[in-house]
Chain length 243, copies 6
């Protein structure tokens, strides 16, 4: 593995994120509404405050944080079927929205939240790889905005958010570990890994898959190094956006 | 009926459209991609060219133009269920997407289009009344862009689009006919009508409903006058955007 | 436009309804049960009184009026799929049953009705064009019978029905506006419009679509004249049937 | 068991059928269309000839005979949910339509029928017990009419129908075996059995269920005697109707 | 009919059951868990005690007994679609689970059971004909185990099970009535009948179908004789297994 | 972290697998049929050879390997709804079956397999934690058996399986990394990770989630050490079972 040799389709260095932009208050109705871009990947993340909880939390005194994910049919290179028209969400969609939900709950104290739900909707307007990591990173900012509103209005007395959370993909592309795969890299890489970490640097979730040959512990270690650095950068960008 | 007296929540005059903006190439993959805003109503309309036709057109030598419509769950004041998660599209959604499809087909020569499909996806990012009329007005521009691409590439030799098409709502608000209802007006009006017309001024579809008391022929006539004028304005805006 | 020249497949004059029959108490269980025929179009309309309301009306003190529509699979020229077997209602079915529901609610005072539901089921036994207009016209009679029963039994003290309601189709066939399209006309006409009006002559709903070339305000006006006259006739037939 | 003592709600003797009427050509589009009444139970049975076969018969040279069953929502004492709206057919519906299909296939030579389908639709307009037996008895007449049309037109050279088929219910009501249960008897009886037989007296299907206490071989034998006689009567009524 | 001549594929005599084994406590979580084998047909029957009842029993003081049935996709000769993946249970599955439920309820006193549900799940691990009869026969043993547990723990003071219940198939194979059809016989037989009886010899359900030519009363009688004997044997095997 | 101090509910040492048994030819119809037990977790894995491929592989000359997963309703402590009855597979089910499919494909050369599908069905008969890792480990053995049959019969000339594959869970229980979590540990652990590796020691997939506090790189490393050892043991057990 020699990082210096790889030529990424985008011309980035192996450890370089795509340009990340985080626009808050992108739409007006949601308590939090963030358009996040990782390069050409654009995801609209809204946070809705609902004064009710799902059945398994009723009467518990605790709240709930959940997420749904969708792609607009023509967010992709070729048009995909609309899931609402097909009548069901794909396995991939469910997998991703479950991941986003777990990531967000990992930084929430549900007791402090009280019996209400933060419902995060992550809708991909344009896809170019890494939609789930952009969704998690943007959803945190939307959730932060929604919670800030509840704190400001006095609905919440103390802050249920314990830390920030962000996510990034890493992968082995042409034999070299690289950060933040875009679509051309994602389609061609051997190993693809998504890493979710808190602002304080704790690991929340890692999901790594060998698309081609199996990977080794050494490669895994290199990928995690890259991911840790990428998430440090994203955490800074989240902080800056929230100022 | 005295137009001079009504106070519209937005301060508009009875015959005044909301500010309309039409952004082309809003996303990068679709052959046509338009973000249209009627005030705070924002709809992303993409046109996809598919080199296939539905079964009822196979072997006919003719093409097809169809539309799908959706609202992001938090495009509305309070969060709505995601139709993909509920597993079916509501009656309202189906009604609207059928309307958009009919409107678009009314200006297409399907023989000239040949055996291919123009699939229009209209997704509401933010709703404030009039999503279906914005969708039709924006979808035309997206379709125009997609067809222009086919003409430019030589795939099409002649233009299958016969005229432009646009749509606007009119209604009786506090006893006065007004143009382009926003959400506060839509919720409170007595009669609500959607009118679809071609650039040349032909009527394609009118759908008027008395939400409160029945309406008269005289009121209907006043509403249609307003609509005709509104569509003339929208046609100009479409033309300007396409330059 | 010259009304005198057109030859309708049925030999009717442009302003002539098909023979309309309205048979009450066609089946024995429903509180109202009407078999209505517009020529060869035959729709069984039943009104069921349910002592419950949908969630959005619970505790409101108000009732609800709603409708469902279906076609028997072989009510049509060639057999259609059974919607129950396919597992969903088509967009067309939903559109029609929403229209019937709105039409019926337009003549009901839901406060006087109290917390109960009038559920109208309109099932097409034989189709020959105009099933939705026959359904609305017949459903009114069924609803009237059901309400009369509630008044007679003392369940209701005053009458929640404010007016009668009926519907008719009009269209431009071979360049001539004609009333009450049958299937051969419906398949071949340029513009097709359904009009719903109250017995007192107020307009409840108009839905007009250019199937071929766009239509003009003048044509629209001629169509509405025909519809007004047709609905006056249907109103008389409803009254006669209810005697 | 003493037949002389039972008082049936309808006043019938234990071995008496309800009045049976069979109206052919009840609707105009289907190749066969029969309204059959067993007392207050009224079922519309249509036979459609489709020039195609399901996948498992493609290329076999054989045809297919199948059936679907439905109840109009207010054919029953209290309104039932519409299966098309609920999005699926109940287990009971599927059970009944499978039974009708088997019964009809038992008298068909599918080779002589050739690669076409006879699709029987049995829709209950009014229910008062015994809808499945009325459906089978009426469907035979509808199928006979449809096949006669194919023979007359020369599409079929020889007759694929080998025998007639009819069905009747029997049950033990207040300890006494009775023929052709109506709804009050059906709700209160101990054992309920449906018997399908051919015109020549062969047994095609028996389905007997103890709703209350178990039944004995002796009781079963008495029930089958009644059923055989009832089917002989129905066979005569079918023959008479087809003249 | 001459029993002495038939050669059954398995070499059994016409009145011979396949080897039957009944293993209790096959899995550890269910209150009753039985693996029953009728030869190569193996069905796992579990009985679950749920401290709730379906809506139609709420507040009645009575309990409920119900069943669900499924086949593992590769329990059959060729792989069948997984019903969970297809999104619905087939008509056959529903028919069978309704039959199992009725059979089990026939031996239960629901008042003594009290407001709780015995939910029987019958899952076919390997199919070789007769899965529904094995399911009923095994489900009884599982239910018995579950009820015994409730009696032992004092939850129930008296026994809600009034009798045992078992089921067997019979059919006419190569002109000869035979007991307990295996798959090769089932595929080739003319008449196929399933019989459910109680331990005391009362008949609960008979379902007989002529797959080929119609059958006669004499043949029916011979089949029922076989079935009665088969169920006596199964009743002994149930008793032995429960010791 | 001090491995010596933790008391696992099962009394196992931190690096101890549960007793693993692998029974081949558990059912008779499938080309491969394996009952695998990880302690009280029992999964039936069948491999079916289908001489067809899904649409995206048609004409490619390549085969496909896919998996479906299900739990019997009472495989769990309390009864779960049957997915076939609910009409859809849960997100969890889809996530797991996608994981199994990826794991199996990672050791297959789809070109050598040719245009046929190996369909793996993993059905949980009894659940006690680790059903997905048992499923993968057992599915490999079933696939191996199915491929051996194809090699033996000459349908395949060379072996499409490149390596073995197995999976195990690891987690942090009471602060200590432990191998092969059973249900009591799974419910109570802080971090839960599933690791899929090949027989040669390459990593195919890691999925780790912090259920409680975030985890560190050091903890991750300890977990992977345990997993590597566990998979070495499972690989030996697979080899032994296949002898």
């Amino acid at each position: 593995m020699s990082n210096s040799k790889v030529t990424r389709p985008s011309g980035r260095t192996p450890s370089q994120l795509r340009p990340v932009t985080i626009d808050r208050a992108f739409t007006k109705h949601a308590e939090g509404s963030v358009l996040i871009a990782f390069g050409d990947t654009k995801v609209l993340c809204t946070a809705s405050v609902l004064e009710k909880v799902p059945p398994h939390k009723k009467g518990s005194g605790e709240g709930w944080v959940t997420a749904e994910y969708g792609m607009l049919p023509r967010s992709t290179h070729t048009r995909s079927d609309r899931e609402a028209a097909r009548g069901k969400q794909s396995g991939r969609t469910q997998e991703i929205q479950r991941l986003i939900g777990r990531a967000m709950r990992s930084v929430f104290d549900l007791k402090i939240l009280g019996e209400r739900t933060i419902h995060l909707d992550c809708d991909v307007l344009q896809a170019d790889g890494g939609t789930r990591t952009a969704a998690i990173t943007g959803a945190y900012v939307a959730a932060r905005d929604a919670i800030n509103q509840l704190l400001k209005s006095g609905t919440l007395k103390s802050d249920p958010i314990l830390d920030s959370v962000a996510a990034i993909s890493v992968g082995i592309y042409q034999g070299v570990p690289v950060l933040d795969l875009d679509y051309p890299e994602d389609s061609a890489c051997d190993t693809d890994m998504n890493v979710v970490m808190t602002g304080k640097g704790g690991m929340i979730e890692i999901q790594g898959t060998a698309e081609g040959p199996a990977f080794s512990r050494t490669e895994l270690s290199a990928l995690l190094d890259l991911a840790e650095q990428g998430i440090r950068d994203l955490t800074q960008l989240q902080l800056a956006a929230l100022k």
